[in-house]
């Protein structure tokens, strides 16, 4: 996990997970269109295929009154949850941890279901829950005592460029003043 690319991917996943959860957990039933438009139905079909399920998750139904927005939200969601440098299975575990930590009822149930669907066993789910719980403890202890980071030296800095970008020029020593 030394490459920044993996951490960028994880951070983007955390953001989208939270974005879905805040809408799904809010009392927004009245925003769900009774008869979604044909455009929205097309997006729904992609969502159902991606998750291999019969019902569209509530987070998407609630924004379906604006099919263009729905399509972009879905595009972002599909991108961050699809297999990439991180596996989809691992991403669902991260999303589950985020959802438990933020007390998202929708996210916790949804991502636990996705983890199981993707083959994670009860032991695997318990492992993620254990890590989530332990670090929910450590973080609060650290915050209460206002501990300062002291472990950032463990990981090396990743010198690779941004995707598609040029690598950093090699560092040359600055000549010292005489």
């Amino acid at each position: 996990m030394a490459e920044d690319a993996l951490w960028y991917e994880a951070a983007l996943l955390v953001g989208v997970t939270n974005a879905l959860n805040v809408v799904a957990d809010s009392p927004l039933e009245s925003l769900e269109p009774a008869r979604p438009s044909a455009e929205a139905q097309e997006v729904f079909a992609e969502i159902l295929a991606f998750y291999d399920r019969a019902d569209v998750p509530v987070a998407f139904r609630r924004v379906a009154a604006d099919p263009g927005y729905l399509a972009d939200l879905w595009g972002a969601t599909r991108r961050v949850f699809a297999d990439n440098r991180l596996t989809r299975r691992h991403k669902e575990a991260l999303a589950f941890a985020v959802s438990v930590t933020t007390r998202s009822s929708f996210g916790t149930t949804f991502h636990l279901g996705e983890m199981r669907r993707l083959g994670v066993g009860e032991r695997g789910a318990m492992e993620v829950l254990g890590v989530t719980q332990m670090f929910s403890s450590y973080t609060k202890i650290a915050d209460t005592l206002q501990l300062e980071p002291d472990m950032d030296g463990i990981a090396a800095v990743d010198p690779s460029p941004a995707p598609g970008g040029a690598p950093l020029p090699p560092r040359t020593a600055t000549p010292e003043a005489p």
């Binding site: 996990m1 941890a97 492992e127 254990g130 332990m134 202890i141 005592l145 300062e148 980071p149």
Partner: protein, 84 residues
């Protein structure tokens, strides 16, 4: 700045200092001082022992690798807005 004075490893009794050495091996990193969290948990060894074992059990490779679990820990810390 921490709200308490973090004690140096040398201020802890010998059995705790041994635990700090074990922690170094766990992190595979030669800290000048044990991490602040290790020193905090060592303040109450009876709690620290249970908590530390639970943490090591949770972080041990199983269905997920240690690295995958470290990323879970990092996102939980991030969501909790914990800079440490």
């Amino acid at each position: 700045m921490p709200t308490v004075r973090l004690r140096d490893a040398s201020e802890y009794p010998a059995p705790i200092q041994k635990l700090f050495e074990i922690a170094k091996a766990w992190f595979k990193y030669d800290f000048a001082q044990p991490p602040a969290m290790s020193r905090v948990m060592a303040w109450d060894p009876e709690l620290g022992a249970f908590h530390g074992r639970a943490m090591k059990r949770a972080m041990a490779p199983g269905e997920w690798s240690r690295a995958e679990k470290e990323m879970v820990a990092a996102v939980v810390s991030g969501v909790n807005a914990c800079a440490y």
